[in-house]
């Protein structure tokens, strides 16, 4: 087989398949983890009927949703109603293309990169693609021909658009420190700087994380699907696999936000505190553990935080949410960019 075809087609194809399978598996088991962790937080057991300790629960859920009747409400705008879940799901999966899960390593004389693409505008790409998801939500809410769905969709659109701005500025602060938009480049910059960026950029990290939680419509910012007011928000009328797509997309987005927090602020696949406090922390054991494990461990921590928040916080009101976004996070993130820029200028000359 000629070399270019192998390089250009076969390997990326294999990677895409592996990535999709792994991501969807993690997403499925994330729902299981959420129910289990919430269960333990709330003095109950969580799923424990299907398989040992409920391990097969996500499979059972998936099967159930697959074989459910595919319902389209009578008054719905049929085409849009069917397309909307796909519009939400596809960007959520596409973003995984640029997430670097680990260091390049050699297998049988061939260098394998555990990411699909290392493009020099990766962060811009993620910001761009992630804004597409909101179209699916607003279209889904509108096409359902249900007032609760419409309100859910509108809320969601307003929320995601407003929180994208401070989030963008928080990302800019990381970019300023790294000097590159490439995800791999940012991790390498943290290795070179001997420090994870959340230490110098703690404010940006905080803003990013709050906005990230809001972007994914999770508690305490889960207004679009506020059960108490809007039944189930924009996906009230959705059932079966179409509902599952919304649901999976939400969890995939949670993974993206967590993965980006890991890459930009927590050293990506690097073991904790590279070369910092030499002797105490640079244990050889830490370096032996593959980067992918470190990456997934850090990502799990953020995902756990998501679930933790859900078990702890009440929900903001819509106007309060907008206040927090525009009156606090937006100016704060702007100031943060100035601060970081100044710091970078002074330190790097």
């Amino acid at each position: 087989m000629p070399e270019p075809i192998l390089q250009l087609l076969l390997i990326p194809l294999i990677k895409i398949v592996v990535l999709l399978v792994v991501v969807l598996l993690i997403v499925a088991y994330l729902t299981y983890a959420e129910r289990k962790i919430l269960g333990y937080m709330q003095v109950r057991l969580g799923p424990n009927r299907v398989g040992p300790k409920g391990w097969l629960q996500p499979v059972a859920d998936g099967l159930k949703l697959l074989v459910k009747e595919d319902l389209v409400p009578g008054g719905a705008e049929k085409l849009v109603f069917i397309i909307a879940p796909a519009i939400v799901m596809v960007p959520a999966l596409v973003m995984f293309a640029v997430i670097p899960f680990g260091e390049p390593f050699k297998v049988a004389g061939m260098t394998v990169t555990p990411y699909l693409a290392d493009i020099n505008i990766a962060l811009l790409f993620i910001l761009g693609v992630s804004s597409l998801g909101v179209f699916g939500i607003i279209l889904g809410g509108w096409s359902s021909n249900n007032k609760f769905s419409l309100m859910g969709g509108l809320r969601s659109a307003a929320q995601m658009v407003s929180y994208e701005i401070p989030m963008g500025f928080a990302i800019v602060s990381a970019v300023l420190m790294a000097g590159t938009l490439s995800m791999v480049g940012i991790v390498e910059a943290q290795r070179a700087a001997h420090i994870w960026f959340f230490i110098p950029g703690v404010l940006g990290f905080g803003i990013y994380w709050v906005c990230g939680v809001a972007e994914t419509n999770r508690n305490p910012f889960d207004l679009p699907e506020a059960e108490a007011e809007l039944v189930a928000g924009f996906h009230t009328e959705y059932s079966g696999m179409k509902f599952a797509l919304f649901y999976l997309a939400e969890y995939a987005n949670m993974m993206i936000v967590s993965a980006m927090a890991v890459v930009m602020f927590c050293g990506g696949w690097l073991p904790p505190f590279p070369n910092l406090l030499a002797g105490l922390w640079a244990l050889p054991v830490l370096a032996w553990i593959p980067g992918v494990v470190w990456f997934l461990a850090k990502m799990s921590f953020f995902l756990f935080c998501y679930i933790w928040f859900r078990g702890t916080f009440p929900r903001y009101r819509f106007d309060q949410l907008m206040n927090v976004g525009w009156k606090w996070l937006f100016p704060l993130s702007l100031a943060n960019v100035m601060l970081v820029a100044l710091g970078v200028l002074l330190l790097k000359g």
Binding site: L38, Q42, P220, A228, E229, R310, G311, T312, P314, Q320
Partner: protein, 374 residues
């Protein structure tokens, strides 16, 4: 929104939305006809009657003791007070005074039931505002209370455990010890709920200044219970018209100052502490003796009208009974349900606020539709 003489650029139309009767947050089959301007409520009209069972009419066809199981089903999370209210009213009519032991056991059951009812309120109120975890904590303790009820009378919700003139059963062996154990453990659980909510910034943002009702309005509308006390009016039937032996125990009536949802939350939390205080005294003072007064096998009423009321967790629960000479059934029995009266404050409390506040207000009024529709 556009004000003044200029015409708005677009025609603005209010959105009419029917909320319920099948809705996850309306606590049963309450329906609200709402007019919305964006997210702001222009008008909200509660529509009731989806759970109407004609209980008051049914009473007219039943002998006095046979009415008691039907009172269970009025406010179905709060059966003991419903029983107690009916029995007290009947005892007033028949001129029966019940033995002290029966009165004390009734108070123990009633205060346990108040705790159970407040726990259901706290659980649903918190879930409506988005905090899901308190639900499971409160239901854990509520289950212990229901276990105590089950041990005493076999039922967990519809207790049917009071008789006109006293009580049907003596307490089982060891019940008092188990009750005392629960009473000792409970205050620490209240602290648990408070850790999750009382000082939580988001919880405060969602409840402080929401659903304000002034003391004057509250009195004019006939509100009772925590919605009235949250507005700073010290009014508790147990204090002002003591029944059973409430005059022999010490407790405080907590009141709020800001008339809002947060104050009503604090009032109810404090009421739980006061219930524990009453329970402690009752367990300590519980006298020996019979549990039934001497009452004829077949109750025959004198002619007359009588009103008796108890302080249920929701407010003043009253029964008004009209009886005929030597009658065995009520000629007419009217129930004054606290939820029904409290609900009428809802349109005023939510007017001009956001849809999300509606949930907080429904939660804070603590309504039960079984009692409203009867």
């Amino acid at each position: 929104m556009m004000n003044g003489p200029e015409r708005p650029l677009f025609d603005v139309e209010e959105m009419e939305i029917s909320f319920g009767p099948q809705h996850p947050a309306t606590h049963g089959v309450l329906r609200l006809q709402m007019k919305l301007d964006g997210e702001r409520i222009v008008e909200a009209k509660p529509i009731i009657g989806y759970l109407h069972r004609g209980t008051e009419k049914l009473f007219e066809t039943m002998t006095f003791p046979a009415c008691i199981p039907h009172t269970d089903r009025l406010d179905y999370v709060n059966a003991a007070h419903n029983n107690q209210g009916f029995c007290i009213t009947m005892e007033k009519l028949l001129g029966i005074s019940i033995p002290p032991r029966a009165a004390y056991i009734r108070m123990i059951l009633a205060e346990l039931q108040r705790l159970a009812s407040h726990l259901v309120w706290l659980a649903t109120h918190a879930v409506d505002i988005g905090a899901i975890t308190p639900f499971f904590y409160t239901f854990r303790e509520r289950d212990e209370i229901l276990d105590l009820f089950e041990e005493y009378c076999g039922a967990r919700l519809t207790l049917n455990t009071m008789k006109i003139g006293g009580l049907p059963f003596e307490l089982p062996d060891g019940w008092l010890d188990r009750c005392a154990k629960f009473v000792d453990a409970f205050p620490s659980h209240i602290d648990e709920y408070e850790t999750l909510l009382t000082t939580n910034r988001i919880w405060k943002k969602r409840t402080v200044g929401v659903g304000i009702i002034s003391p004057e309005d509250a009195i004019n509308m006939g509100l009772t219970g925590p919605p009235l006390r949250g507005s700073g009016v010290e009014w508790d039937i147990r204090k002002v018209f003591p029944y059973d032996r409430y005059d022999e125990v010490e407790f405080d009536v907590p009141t709020g100052t800001n008339c809002d949802t947060y104050d009503r939350y604090l009032v109810r939390i404090e009421e739980m502490h006061q219930s524990i205080r009453i329970l402690r005294q009752c367990l300590e003072k519980l006298p020996e003796g019979p549990i039934m007064a001497k009452a004829p096998k077949v109750l025959r009423s004198p002619e007359g009208m009588v009103y008796g009321s108890v302080e249920s967790p929701k407010g003043e629960l009253g029964y008004f009974i009209v009886a005929t000479e030597k009658g065995t059934t009520p000629y007419r029995c009217r129930v004054r349900p606290p939820s029904f009266v409290n609900l009428q404050a809802l349109p005023q409390m939510v007017k001009g606020s956001l849809v999300a506040d509606m949930m907080a207000v429904i939660g804070t009024l603590d309504i039960v539709l079984g009692e409203i529709d009867r």
